[in-house]
């Protein structure tokens, strides 16, 4: 007689192994935070390599950093902060069941993320034009330091990995946009937006550190 599927009908989004929507939401958030821990350690390896090499070759880092365009870097930082703001607004809109605002804010977030990638594209192609490539393909003569390629290898690796994460974020948010159009989200259920937002904020935080470490060494 005892049966724990509740007497009232279960909402569609509630998975059977959860007791109620709150448990499901809290679990999703905790799961995403645990995943973010792994992302921090993943990037952490590269940050560790950066720290080791900057401690060994401080002059190289000062010289090489000049090749990076501080203005574009600043713009990109502001763009990402803006996109964090709009994704937080999208979550707020979902909490208040404002369907139109979810769409608008998600769309702006995606747009800003694309702006970031476009600027990145221009930065990278400009470097390639100068002969600044990663690793063994580096041919730029402009920096006298013999280990110059290490700085740029780290630059391409770290901004490249970050860029991949931005692209994944764009993909996720386009999917969220589609689901919003399908009417899947409401103030009762917006978990995917919440956890994608958490992911996106971490992408922003990583750039907050990448920016001064590469662009602001003078």
């Amino acid at each position: 007689m005892a049966n724990d599927s509740t007497a009232t009908s279960q909402p569609k989004f509630l998975q059977h192994h959860f007791v109620d929507a709150e448990q499901q939401f809290d679990s999703a958030k905790m799961g995403m935070w645990v995943f973010l821990v792994t992302e921090i350690l993943f990037f952490g390896g590269l940050f560790a390599a950066y720290i080791v090499y900057r401690a060994w070759y401080p002059d190289l880092f000062v010289e090489a950093s000049i090749e990076l365009n501080t203005v574009l870097g600043t713009i990109n930082t502001l763009v990402l902060i803006g996109s964090s703001f709009t994704v937080a607004m999208a979550i707020r809109a979902a909490q208040l069941n404002q369907q139109k605002k979810i769409v608008i804010n998600l769309a702006i977030t995606i747009f800003l993320a694309c702006v970031f990638m476009v600027i990145k594209y221009f930065e990278w192609t400009h470097k390639f034009h100068l002969g600044i490539y990663p690793g063994q393909f580096y041919t730029f003569e402009g920096i006298p330091h013999p280990k110059a390629s290490v700085f740029f290898s780290l630059y391409f690796l770290m901004t490249g990995l970050h860029g991949i994460h931005v692209l994944v974020g764009i993909g996720l948010m386009i999917w969220l946009l589609k689901r919003t159009f399908n009417g899947e989200f409401s103030s009762k259920y917006f978990t995917p937006i919440e956890i994608t937002g958490l992911y996106w904020h971490l992408v922003d935080i990583i750039w907050i550190f990448l920016f001064p470490l590469f662009y602001l060494i003078e």
């Binding site: 939401f25 350690l41 560790a48 501080t70 902060i81 937080a88 707020r92 602001l216 060494i217 003078e218």
Partner: protein
């Protein structure tokens, strides 16, 4: 979903505004060419403060279950171990062969 904090427009705008200003501040300080090690301390200090604002107020850790914040802090703690113990090697090597 009762009990989950809903941020106000005003609060989010204020945090975003602060982040914008801090970005411009860190660029400005960069131009000042502070002597080592103050340049890196200032830059990292501002970055850490910005990241904290994002974590607390955009990622909602201020109102969230404490365990999620513990997760974040532990990740940073273990990252510090990775860096710290590695530097214990890389910064303290004695050159065996002088020419290298």
């Amino acid at each position: 979903m009762t009990g989950h904090h809903i941020s106000t427009n005003k609060m989010l705008l204020q945090v975003a505004g602060a982040l914008f200003l801090l970005t411009l501040l860190t660029v400005g300080i960069g131009y000042l060419q502070l002597p080592h090690p103050w340049a890196i301390i200032a830059a990292m200090g501002i970055a850490i403060f910005k990241a904290t604002l994002v974590a607390l107020f955009f990622m909602n850790l201020w109102w969230d279950k404490r365990f999620n914040a513990i997760l974040l802090l532990s990740a940073l703690g273990f990252f510090s171990l990775l860096v710290g113990l590695t530097l214990l090697d890389t910064l303290y090597r004695v050159p065996i062969i002088p020419e290298f």
